[in-house]
Symmetry: C2
Subunit: 281 residues, 2 copies
Protein backbone atom coordinates (compact mmCIF):
# COMPACT_ATOMS: atom_id res chain seq x y z
CA UNK A 1 0.00 0.00 0.00
CA UNK A 2 1.48 3.29 -1.20
CA UNK A 3 0.14 6.78 -0.55
CA UNK A 4 -0.51 8.81 -3.69
CA UNK A 5 0.90 12.31 -4.14
CA UNK A 6 -2.63 13.61 -3.56
CA UNK A 7 -2.88 11.73 -0.27
CA UNK A 8 0.49 13.02 0.87
CA UNK A 9 -0.63 16.55 0.02
CA UNK A 10 -3.90 16.08 1.90
CA UNK A 11 -2.09 14.70 4.94
CA UNK A 12 0.21 17.68 4.94
CA UNK A 13 -2.74 20.07 4.74
CA UNK A 14 -5.29 18.43 7.07
CA UNK A 15 -3.03 16.38 9.34
CA UNK A 16 -4.94 13.13 8.81
CA UNK A 17 -5.97 10.53 6.23
CA UNK A 18 -9.02 8.30 6.45
CA UNK A 19 -9.18 4.82 4.88
CA UNK A 20 -12.72 3.41 5.22
CA UNK A 21 -12.94 -0.40 5.39
CA UNK A 22 -9.20 -0.92 4.93
CA UNK A 23 -9.37 -4.20 6.88
CA UNK A 24 -11.96 -6.83 5.97
CA UNK A 25 -14.63 -8.05 8.42
CA UNK A 26 -12.95 -11.46 8.80
CA UNK A 27 -9.65 -9.76 9.66
CA UNK A 28 -11.31 -7.55 12.28
CA UNK A 29 -13.12 -10.55 13.74
CA UNK A 30 -9.77 -12.19 14.57
CA UNK A 31 -8.87 -9.11 16.63
CA UNK A 32 -12.28 -8.53 18.21
CA UNK A 33 -12.54 -12.14 19.38
CA UNK A 34 -9.47 -11.50 21.52
CA UNK A 35 -10.61 -8.26 23.20
CA UNK A 36 -12.91 -9.62 25.94
CA UNK A 37 -10.17 -11.93 27.26
CA UNK A 38 -7.63 -9.09 27.12
CA UNK A 39 -9.93 -6.71 29.00
CA UNK A 40 -10.69 -9.40 31.58
CA UNK A 41 -7.04 -9.90 32.49
CA UNK A 42 -5.79 -8.41 35.71
CA UNK A 43 -2.70 -6.69 34.37
CA UNK A 44 -1.30 -3.22 35.02
CA UNK A 45 -1.80 -2.64 31.28
CA UNK A 46 -5.58 -2.41 31.80
CA UNK A 47 -6.73 1.05 32.93
CA UNK A 48 -10.38 1.28 34.08
CA UNK A 49 -12.82 4.13 33.56
CA UNK A 50 -13.08 6.51 36.49
CA UNK A 51 -16.72 5.94 37.33
CA UNK A 52 -17.52 2.55 35.84
CA UNK A 53 -16.39 -1.04 35.87
CA UNK A 54 -15.22 -0.87 32.24
CA UNK A 55 -11.78 -0.81 30.62
CA UNK A 56 -10.80 2.61 29.27
CA UNK A 57 -7.56 1.52 27.67
CA UNK A 58 -5.35 -1.55 27.41
CA UNK A 59 -1.64 -1.12 26.72
CA UNK A 60 0.90 -3.17 24.81
CA UNK A 61 -1.33 -6.07 23.72
CA UNK A 62 1.13 -6.74 20.87
CA UNK A 63 3.57 -7.99 23.50
CA UNK A 64 1.28 -10.72 24.83
CA UNK A 65 -1.60 -11.30 22.36
CA UNK A 66 -0.99 -13.25 19.15
CA UNK A 67 -3.48 -11.48 16.83
CA UNK A 68 -2.41 -8.02 18.00
CA UNK A 69 1.27 -8.94 17.65
CA UNK A 70 0.48 -9.62 13.99
CA UNK A 71 -1.48 -6.37 13.62
CA UNK A 72 1.56 -4.48 14.95
CA UNK A 73 3.45 -5.75 11.91
CA UNK A 74 0.74 -5.27 9.30
CA UNK A 75 1.99 -3.78 6.03
CA UNK A 76 -1.27 -1.92 5.31
CA UNK A 77 -0.65 0.06 8.48
CA UNK A 78 3.17 0.25 8.65
CA UNK A 79 4.12 0.96 5.03
CA UNK A 80 2.34 4.29 4.52
CA UNK A 81 3.93 5.56 7.72
CA UNK A 82 7.38 4.45 6.62
CA UNK A 83 6.66 6.28 3.40
CA UNK A 84 5.74 9.54 5.17
CA UNK A 85 8.89 9.53 7.31
CA UNK A 86 11.08 7.97 4.61
CA UNK A 87 12.61 5.88 7.36
CA UNK A 88 12.04 2.72 9.40
CA UNK A 89 9.63 3.01 12.31
CA UNK A 90 9.24 1.33 15.72
CA UNK A 91 6.19 0.90 17.96
CA UNK A 92 6.16 3.71 20.53
CA UNK A 93 2.72 3.01 22.00
CA UNK A 94 0.07 0.34 21.48
CA UNK A 95 -3.42 0.81 22.96
CA UNK A 96 -6.85 -0.75 22.63
CA UNK A 97 -9.29 1.91 23.79
CA UNK A 98 -12.64 0.63 25.00
CA UNK A 99 -15.03 3.60 24.82
CA UNK A 100 -17.56 1.06 26.06
CA UNK A 101 -21.30 1.42 25.52
CA UNK A 102 -22.88 3.71 28.16
CA UNK A 103 -19.66 4.06 30.20
CA UNK A 104 -17.07 5.32 27.71
CA UNK A 105 -15.82 8.64 29.05
CA UNK A 106 -14.46 11.71 27.24
CA UNK A 107 -10.89 12.35 26.12
CA UNK A 108 -10.27 16.08 26.39
CA UNK A 109 -8.65 18.08 23.56
CA UNK A 110 -4.97 17.22 23.34
CA UNK A 111 -2.00 16.57 21.08
CA UNK A 112 -0.15 13.31 21.54
CA UNK A 113 3.25 14.67 20.67
CA UNK A 114 2.96 17.16 23.52
CA UNK A 115 3.01 14.21 25.94
CA UNK A 116 5.73 12.35 24.07
CA UNK A 117 7.96 15.40 24.20
CA UNK A 118 7.20 16.38 27.80
CA UNK A 119 7.24 12.91 29.33
CA UNK A 120 9.37 10.82 26.99
CA UNK A 121 11.74 13.39 25.49
CA UNK A 122 10.93 12.40 21.93
CA UNK A 123 13.06 14.88 19.96
CA UNK A 124 10.73 15.69 17.04
CA UNK A 125 7.13 15.16 15.95
CA UNK A 126 8.21 12.40 13.55
CA UNK A 127 5.76 9.87 15.02
CA UNK A 128 2.39 8.92 13.53
CA UNK A 129 -0.87 8.05 15.22
CA UNK A 130 -3.01 5.26 13.85
CA UNK A 131 -6.62 4.50 14.74
CA UNK A 132 -8.09 1.20 13.56
CA UNK A 133 -11.83 0.77 14.20
CA UNK A 134 -12.67 -2.64 15.67
CA UNK A 135 -16.32 -1.55 15.99
CA UNK A 136 -18.30 0.66 13.66
CA UNK A 137 -17.83 4.31 14.57
CA UNK A 138 -20.95 6.45 14.24
CA UNK A 139 -22.08 9.84 15.49
CA UNK A 140 -23.44 8.35 18.72
CA UNK A 141 -20.59 6.25 20.13
CA UNK A 142 -18.02 8.95 20.73
CA UNK A 143 -16.08 9.30 17.46
CA UNK A 144 -12.62 10.79 17.41
CA UNK A 145 -12.83 14.52 16.59
CA UNK A 146 -10.02 16.39 14.83
CA UNK A 147 -9.31 20.04 14.21
CA UNK A 148 -7.96 19.93 10.63
CA UNK A 149 -4.73 21.82 10.13
CA UNK A 150 -4.03 22.14 13.85
CA UNK A 151 -0.84 20.06 13.48
CA UNK A 152 0.75 23.00 11.64
CA UNK A 153 1.21 24.93 14.86
CA UNK A 154 3.63 22.50 16.49
CA UNK A 155 3.36 21.85 20.21
CA UNK A 156 0.72 24.02 21.87
CA UNK A 157 0.76 25.05 25.49
CA UNK A 158 -0.98 22.45 27.63
CA UNK A 159 -1.95 21.74 31.21
CA UNK A 160 -1.56 18.38 32.92
CA UNK A 161 -5.14 17.28 33.63
CA UNK A 162 -5.06 14.70 36.42
CA UNK A 163 -8.71 14.86 37.44
CA UNK A 164 -11.23 14.77 34.56
CA UNK A 165 -10.75 11.13 33.63
CA UNK A 166 -8.82 8.15 34.95
CA UNK A 167 -5.88 8.74 32.57
CA UNK A 168 -3.68 11.84 32.97
CA UNK A 169 -3.39 13.97 29.86
CA UNK A 170 -1.72 17.19 28.75
CA UNK A 171 -4.82 19.10 27.64
CA UNK A 172 -5.10 22.32 25.65
CA UNK A 173 -6.90 25.34 27.03
CA UNK A 174 -10.29 26.52 25.80
CA UNK A 175 -9.14 29.78 24.23
CA UNK A 176 -6.67 27.96 21.99
CA UNK A 177 -9.26 25.38 20.94
CA UNK A 178 -11.71 28.16 20.11
CA UNK A 179 -9.13 29.84 17.88
CA UNK A 180 -8.11 26.61 16.15
CA UNK A 181 -11.71 25.58 15.47
CA UNK A 182 -12.52 28.98 14.01
CA UNK A 183 -9.73 28.35 11.52
CA UNK A 184 -10.17 24.65 10.77
CA UNK A 185 -13.56 23.52 12.07
CA UNK A 186 -14.06 20.04 13.52
CA UNK A 187 -14.30 16.73 11.66
CA UNK A 188 -15.16 13.27 12.97
CA UNK A 189 -14.43 10.44 10.50
CA UNK A 190 -17.04 7.70 10.81
CA UNK A 191 -17.18 4.31 9.16
CA UNK A 192 -17.43 0.56 9.48
CA UNK A 193 -15.19 -1.64 11.58
CA UNK A 194 -11.91 -2.12 9.72
CA UNK A 195 -11.52 1.56 8.82
CA UNK A 196 -8.18 3.22 9.60
CA UNK A 197 -7.13 6.80 10.31
CA UNK A 198 -3.54 8.01 10.15
CA UNK A 199 -3.04 11.28 12.00
CA UNK A 200 -0.16 13.58 12.78
CA UNK A 201 1.33 13.54 16.28
CA UNK A 202 0.53 17.26 16.62
CA UNK A 203 -3.07 17.08 15.36
CA UNK A 204 -5.40 18.30 18.11
CA UNK A 205 -8.07 15.70 18.89
CA UNK A 206 -10.69 14.71 21.46
CA UNK A 207 -13.68 12.42 21.81
CA UNK A 208 -16.92 12.70 23.74
CA UNK A 209 -18.54 10.18 26.01
CA UNK A 210 -20.36 7.17 24.60
CA UNK A 211 -23.96 7.08 25.86
CA UNK A 212 -25.05 4.70 23.10
CA UNK A 213 -25.52 0.95 23.51
CA UNK A 214 -22.73 0.38 20.96
CA UNK A 215 -19.15 -0.25 22.08
CA UNK A 216 -16.54 1.71 20.19
CA UNK A 217 -13.38 -0.34 20.59
CA UNK A 218 -10.45 1.03 18.58
CA UNK A 219 -6.77 0.23 18.35
CA UNK A 220 -4.60 3.31 18.75
CA UNK A 221 -0.98 2.99 17.75
CA UNK A 222 1.86 5.44 17.67
CA UNK A 223 4.76 4.59 15.39
CA UNK A 224 7.93 6.63 15.67
CA UNK A 225 10.75 7.10 13.17
CA UNK A 226 13.62 5.01 14.52
CA UNK A 227 16.13 7.88 14.60
CA UNK A 228 13.57 9.91 16.59
CA UNK A 229 13.32 7.40 19.46
CA UNK A 230 12.53 8.64 22.96
CA UNK A 231 15.39 9.71 25.23
CA UNK A 232 13.77 9.39 28.64
CA UNK A 233 12.07 6.44 30.35
CA UNK A 234 10.00 8.36 32.90
CA UNK A 235 6.83 6.46 32.00
CA UNK A 236 6.54 2.68 32.35
CA UNK A 237 7.77 0.67 29.39
CA UNK A 238 4.31 -0.71 28.63
CA UNK A 239 3.11 2.87 28.00
CA UNK A 240 6.16 4.23 26.14
CA UNK A 241 8.14 1.38 24.62
CA UNK A 242 11.91 1.16 24.96
CA UNK A 243 12.63 -1.22 22.12
CA UNK A 244 13.53 0.85 19.08
CA UNK A 245 14.06 -2.05 16.67
CA UNK A 246 12.51 -1.31 13.26
CA UNK A 247 9.20 -3.09 12.63
CA UNK A 248 9.58 -6.02 10.27
CA UNK A 249 6.33 -6.32 8.31
CA UNK A 250 4.51 -9.62 7.85
CA UNK A 251 2.73 -10.41 4.57
CA UNK A 252 -0.61 -8.74 3.81
CA UNK A 253 -2.62 -11.85 4.79
CA UNK A 254 -1.04 -12.08 8.23
CA UNK A 255 -4.26 -11.68 10.22
CA UNK A 256 -5.84 -14.69 8.51
CA UNK A 257 -2.87 -17.07 8.32
CA UNK A 258 -0.35 -18.34 10.81
CA UNK A 259 2.95 -16.55 11.18
CA UNK A 260 5.42 -16.85 14.02
CA UNK A 261 5.64 -13.71 16.13
CA UNK A 262 7.32 -13.23 19.50
CA UNK A 263 5.10 -12.73 22.56
CA UNK A 264 7.71 -11.79 25.15
CA UNK A 265 5.23 -10.60 27.84
CA UNK A 266 2.90 -13.59 27.52
CA UNK A 267 3.65 -14.79 31.06
CA UNK A 268 3.68 -11.33 32.61
CA UNK A 269 5.25 -7.94 32.17
CA UNK A 270 8.93 -7.73 33.15
CA UNK A 271 9.40 -5.81 36.40
CA UNK A 272 11.60 -3.15 34.80
CA UNK A 273 8.84 -2.35 32.26
CA UNK A 274 6.31 -1.66 35.01
CA UNK A 275 7.98 1.39 36.37
CA UNK A 276 9.37 4.63 35.15
CA UNK A 277 13.03 5.41 35.50
CA UNK A 278 15.15 8.30 34.37
CA UNK A 279 17.80 6.06 32.84
CA UNK A 280 18.73 7.49 29.46
CA UNK A 281 19.21 5.12 26.58
CA UNK B 1 -49.83 26.98 12.92
CA UNK B 2 -51.73 23.71 12.50
CA UNK B 3 -50.28 20.23 12.33
CA UNK B 4 -51.21 18.29 9.19
CA UNK B 5 -52.67 14.78 9.36
CA UNK B 6 -49.30 13.50 8.16
CA UNK B 7 -47.49 15.28 10.99
CA UNK B 8 -49.94 13.93 13.56
CA UNK B 9 -49.38 10.44 12.17
CA UNK B 10 -45.61 10.88 12.30
CA UNK B 11 -45.74 12.15 15.87
CA UNK B 12 -47.79 9.15 16.86
CA UNK B 13 -45.30 6.80 15.23
CA UNK B 14 -41.93 8.38 16.13
CA UNK B 15 -42.85 10.36 19.24
CA UNK B 16 -41.38 13.63 17.98
CA UNK B 17 -41.69 16.31 15.28
CA UNK B 18 -38.88 18.55 14.10
CA UNK B 19 -39.46 22.08 12.75
CA UNK B 20 -36.17 23.51 11.40
CA UNK B 21 -35.87 27.32 11.55
CA UNK B 22 -39.38 27.82 12.96
CA UNK B 23 -38.28 31.04 14.67
CA UNK B 24 -36.42 33.71 12.73
CA UNK B 25 -32.90 34.88 13.65
CA UNK B 26 -34.18 38.27 14.87
CA UNK B 27 -36.68 36.51 17.14
CA UNK B 28 -34.00 34.25 18.60
CA UNK B 29 -31.70 37.21 19.13
CA UNK B 30 -34.24 38.79 21.49
CA UNK B 31 -34.08 35.66 23.63
CA UNK B 32 -30.34 35.07 23.40
CA UNK B 33 -29.53 38.63 24.41
CA UNK B 34 -31.21 37.91 27.73
CA UNK B 35 -29.43 34.63 28.58
CA UNK B 36 -26.09 35.93 29.95
CA UNK B 37 -27.88 38.17 32.47
CA UNK B 38 -30.19 35.32 33.47
CA UNK B 39 -27.30 32.91 33.96
CA UNK B 40 -25.38 35.52 35.95
CA UNK B 41 -28.17 35.97 38.49
CA UNK B 42 -27.76 34.38 41.88
CA UNK B 43 -31.13 32.68 42.12
CA UNK B 44 -32.06 29.19 43.22
CA UNK B 45 -33.40 28.71 39.70
CA UNK B 46 -29.83 28.49 38.36
CA UNK B 47 -28.31 25.01 38.71
CA UNK B 48 -24.57 24.77 37.99
CA UNK B 49 -22.66 21.95 36.30
CA UNK B 50 -21.08 19.50 38.70
CA UNK B 51 -17.47 20.07 37.75
CA UNK B 52 -17.44 23.51 36.16
CA UNK B 53 -18.39 27.08 36.80
CA UNK B 54 -21.15 27.01 34.15
CA UNK B 55 -24.94 26.99 34.34
CA UNK B 56 -26.46 23.59 33.52
CA UNK B 57 -30.07 24.72 33.66
CA UNK B 58 -32.12 27.76 34.57
CA UNK B 59 -35.72 27.33 35.71
CA UNK B 60 -38.84 29.42 35.28
CA UNK B 61 -37.38 32.37 33.35
CA UNK B 62 -40.88 33.10 32.02
CA UNK B 63 -41.79 34.24 35.54
CA UNK B 64 -39.12 36.96 35.69
CA UNK B 65 -37.76 37.62 32.18
CA UNK B 66 -39.81 39.66 29.70
CA UNK B 67 -38.72 37.97 26.41
CA UNK B 68 -39.14 34.49 27.85
CA UNK B 69 -42.53 35.38 29.32
CA UNK B 70 -43.56 36.17 25.75
CA UNK B 71 -42.03 32.95 24.39
CA UNK B 72 -44.09 31.01 26.94
CA UNK B 73 -47.21 32.35 25.20
CA UNK B 74 -46.04 31.96 21.60
CA UNK B 75 -48.71 30.55 19.29
CA UNK B 76 -46.19 28.73 17.06
CA UNK B 77 -45.25 26.67 20.09
CA UNK B 78 -48.51 26.44 22.03
CA UNK B 79 -51.07 25.83 19.29
CA UNK B 80 -49.76 22.53 17.91
CA UNK B 81 -49.67 21.15 21.44
CA UNK B 82 -53.22 22.27 22.14
CA UNK B 83 -54.14 20.54 18.90
CA UNK B 84 -52.50 17.24 19.93
CA UNK B 85 -54.26 17.17 23.30
CA UNK B 86 -57.46 18.78 22.02
CA UNK B 87 -57.49 20.78 25.22
CA UNK B 88 -56.01 23.88 26.82
CA UNK B 89 -52.51 23.53 28.24
CA UNK B 90 -50.53 25.10 31.08
CA UNK B 91 -46.78 25.50 31.65
CA UNK B 92 -45.56 22.62 33.80
CA UNK B 93 -41.82 23.31 33.49
CA UNK B 94 -39.71 26.01 31.86
CA UNK B 95 -35.95 25.53 31.49
CA UNK B 96 -33.07 27.12 29.64
CA UNK B 97 -30.38 24.45 29.42
CA UNK B 98 -26.84 25.71 28.96
CA UNK B 99 -24.84 22.77 27.58
CA UNK B 100 -22.03 25.29 27.54
CA UNK B 101 -18.98 24.97 25.30
CA UNK B 102 -16.35 22.62 26.81
CA UNK B 103 -18.23 22.18 30.11
CA UNK B 104 -21.72 21.00 29.11
CA UNK B 105 -22.19 17.63 30.79
CA UNK B 106 -24.25 14.60 29.75
CA UNK B 107 -27.95 13.96 30.42
CA UNK B 108 -28.38 10.21 30.87
CA UNK B 109 -31.16 8.30 29.06
CA UNK B 110 -34.51 9.13 30.63
CA UNK B 111 -38.19 9.83 30.06
CA UNK B 112 -39.58 13.05 31.44
CA UNK B 113 -42.99 11.69 32.23
CA UNK B 114 -41.40 9.11 34.54
CA UNK B 115 -40.29 11.99 36.77
CA UNK B 116 -43.57 13.89 36.46
CA UNK B 117 -45.48 10.81 37.56
CA UNK B 118 -43.10 9.74 40.32
CA UNK B 119 -42.40 13.17 41.78
CA UNK B 120 -45.37 15.31 40.79
CA UNK B 121 -48.20 12.77 40.52
CA UNK B 122 -49.15 13.87 37.04
CA UNK B 123 -51.98 11.44 36.25
CA UNK B 124 -51.32 10.70 32.55
CA UNK B 125 -48.66 11.30 29.91
CA UNK B 126 -50.71 14.13 28.40
CA UNK B 127 -47.85 16.62 28.58
CA UNK B 128 -45.58 17.64 25.72
CA UNK B 129 -41.91 18.48 25.68
CA UNK B 130 -40.65 21.33 23.55
CA UNK B 131 -37.04 22.10 22.64
CA UNK B 132 -36.28 25.44 21.01
CA UNK B 133 -32.69 25.88 19.80
CA UNK B 134 -31.22 29.25 20.79
CA UNK B 135 -27.86 28.17 19.33
CA UNK B 136 -27.24 26.05 16.27
CA UNK B 137 -27.24 22.37 17.19
CA UNK B 138 -24.66 20.26 15.37
CA UNK B 139 -23.08 16.85 15.85
CA UNK B 140 -20.36 18.26 18.09
CA UNK B 141 -22.19 20.30 20.74
CA UNK B 142 -24.19 17.56 22.41
CA UNK B 143 -27.44 17.29 20.42
CA UNK B 144 -30.53 15.78 21.97
CA UNK B 145 -30.75 12.07 21.05
CA UNK B 146 -34.08 10.24 20.77
CA UNK B 147 -35.02 6.59 20.45
CA UNK B 148 -37.90 6.81 17.95
CA UNK B 149 -41.00 4.90 18.98
CA UNK B 150 -39.86 4.47 22.58
CA UNK B 151 -42.83 6.53 23.81
CA UNK B 152 -45.13 3.64 22.86
CA UNK B 153 -44.04 1.61 25.86
CA UNK B 154 -45.37 3.98 28.50
CA UNK B 155 -43.36 4.53 31.66
CA UNK B 156 -40.26 2.33 31.82
CA UNK B 157 -38.61 1.19 35.01
CA UNK B 158 -36.04 3.74 36.14
CA UNK B 159 -33.47 4.34 38.86
CA UNK B 160 -32.97 7.65 40.65
CA UNK B 161 -29.49 8.77 39.60
CA UNK B 162 -28.22 11.27 42.17
CA UNK B 163 -24.52 11.10 41.34
CA UNK B 164 -23.67 11.29 37.63
CA UNK B 165 -24.50 14.96 37.15
CA UNK B 166 -25.58 17.88 39.30
CA UNK B 167 -29.28 17.36 38.57
CA UNK B 168 -31.04 14.21 39.87
CA UNK B 169 -32.79 12.18 37.21
CA UNK B 170 -34.82 8.97 36.92
CA UNK B 171 -32.62 7.12 34.42
CA UNK B 172 -33.34 3.97 32.45
CA UNK B 173 -31.12 0.92 32.73
CA UNK B 174 -28.72 -0.20 30.02
CA UNK B 175 -30.50 -3.42 29.08
CA UNK B 176 -33.73 -1.55 28.34
CA UNK B 177 -31.92 1.07 26.25
CA UNK B 178 -30.17 -1.66 24.29
CA UNK B 179 -33.53 -3.31 23.50
CA UNK B 180 -35.21 -0.02 22.54
CA UNK B 181 -32.36 1.04 20.27
CA UNK B 182 -32.37 -2.32 18.50
CA UNK B 183 -35.99 -1.63 17.66
CA UNK B 184 -35.92 2.09 16.89
CA UNK B 185 -32.32 3.22 16.47
CA UNK B 186 -31.18 6.66 17.61
CA UNK B 187 -31.81 10.02 15.94
CA UNK B 188 -30.41 13.45 16.79
CA UNK B 189 -32.21 16.34 15.04
CA UNK B 190 -29.74 19.10 14.17
CA UNK B 191 -30.38 22.51 12.73
CA UNK B 192 -29.99 26.27 13.00
CA UNK B 193 -30.95 28.38 15.98
CA UNK B 194 -34.71 28.89 15.90
CA UNK B 195 -35.51 25.24 15.20
CA UNK B 196 -38.09 23.53 17.42
CA UNK B 197 -38.71 19.93 18.44
CA UNK B 198 -41.96 18.70 19.98
CA UNK B 199 -41.53 15.37 21.74
CA UNK B 200 -43.73 13.03 23.70
CA UNK B 201 -43.38 12.96 27.50
CA UNK B 202 -42.54 9.23 27.31
CA UNK B 203 -39.97 9.48 24.51
CA UNK B 204 -36.61 8.20 25.78
CA UNK B 205 -33.87 10.79 25.28
CA UNK B 206 -30.34 11.74 26.35
CA UNK B 207 -27.51 14.04 25.30
CA UNK B 208 -23.74 13.73 25.48
CA UNK B 209 -21.23 16.19 26.79
CA UNK B 210 -20.27 19.25 24.76
CA UNK B 211 -16.51 19.34 24.18
CA UNK B 212 -16.84 21.79 21.30
CA UNK B 213 -16.20 25.54 21.53
CA UNK B 214 -19.86 26.16 20.64
CA UNK B 215 -22.49 26.72 23.33
CA UNK B 216 -25.70 24.81 22.83
CA UNK B 217 -28.28 26.81 24.73
CA UNK B 218 -31.83 25.48 24.31
CA UNK B 219 -35.17 26.27 25.87
CA UNK B 220 -36.91 23.14 27.17
CA UNK B 221 -40.58 23.47 28.01
CA UNK B 222 -43.13 21.00 29.21
CA UNK B 223 -46.76 21.89 28.60
CA UNK B 224 -49.44 19.82 30.28
CA UNK B 225 -53.12 19.41 29.41
CA UNK B 226 -54.99 21.44 32.01
CA UNK B 227 -57.17 18.54 33.18
CA UNK B 228 -54.00 16.47 33.67
CA UNK B 229 -52.40 18.91 36.14
CA UNK B 230 -50.05 17.57 38.82
CA UNK B 231 -51.51 16.40 42.12
CA UNK B 232 -48.46 16.66 44.38
CA UNK B 233 -46.14 19.56 45.16
CA UNK B 234 -43.13 17.57 46.37
CA UNK B 235 -40.74 19.54 44.13
CA UNK B 236 -40.30 23.30 44.42
CA UNK B 237 -42.76 25.40 42.45
CA UNK B 238 -40.06 26.82 40.18
CA UNK B 239 -39.33 23.27 38.96
CA UNK B 240 -42.90 21.94 38.72
CA UNK B 241 -45.35 24.80 38.40
CA UNK B 242 -48.51 24.99 40.51
CA UNK B 243 -50.47 27.45 38.43
CA UNK B 244 -52.72 25.47 36.11
CA UNK B 245 -54.31 28.42 34.32
CA UNK B 246 -54.56 27.80 30.56
CA UNK B 247 -51.93 29.61 28.50
CA UNK B 248 -53.37 32.61 26.68
CA UNK B 249 -51.43 32.99 23.42
CA UNK B 250 -50.02 36.30 22.25
CA UNK B 251 -50.00 37.22 18.53
CA UNK B 252 -47.44 35.59 16.24
CA UNK B 253 -45.18 38.69 16.24
CA UNK B 254 -44.95 38.81 20.02
CA UNK B 255 -41.17 38.37 20.24
CA UNK B 256 -40.57 41.44 18.09
CA UNK B 257 -43.26 43.79 19.39
CA UNK B 258 -44.28 44.97 22.81
CA UNK B 259 -47.05 43.15 24.64
CA UNK B 260 -47.87 43.34 28.31
CA UNK B 261 -47.06 40.15 30.18
CA UNK B 262 -46.96 39.56 33.93
CA UNK B 263 -43.56 39.00 35.56
CA UNK B 264 -44.64 37.96 39.05
CA UNK B 265 -41.18 36.74 40.21
CA UNK B 266 -39.26 39.74 38.92
CA UNK B 267 -38.25 40.81 42.41
CA UNK B 268 -37.57 37.32 43.70
CA UNK B 269 -39.16 33.93 43.95
CA UNK B 270 -41.94 33.67 46.56
CA UNK B 271 -40.82 31.65 49.57
CA UNK B 272 -43.52 29.03 49.13
CA UNK B 273 -42.32 28.30 45.57
CA UNK B 274 -38.80 27.55 46.77
CA UNK B 275 -39.65 24.46 48.67
CA UNK B 276 -41.47 21.24 48.16
CA UNK B 277 -44.53 20.42 50.18
CA UNK B 278 -46.93 17.53 50.12
CA UNK B 279 -49.97 19.77 50.09
CA UNK B 280 -52.40 18.46 47.51
CA UNK B 281 -54.17 20.88 45.23
Amino acid sequence: MKLTEEQKQQFDWDGYLFFPSLFRPEEIKVLMDEVPALYAQRRPENIGEKTANAVRTNFAAHMYSYPFAKLARHPRMVEPIRQVFDEDVYMHQFKINGKQAFDGDVWQWHQDYGTWRADDQMPEDRAMNVAIFLDEVNEFNGPLMFIPGSHKLGVLEAEHDLTTTSYPLWTINHETIRRLVERGGIVAPKGPAGSMILFHGCLVHASTSNLSPWNRVSVYLSLCAVSNHIRCFKRPGYIAHRDFAPIDCLPDDCLLRHYDVPLPWKDGTPAEELQGSLRAT
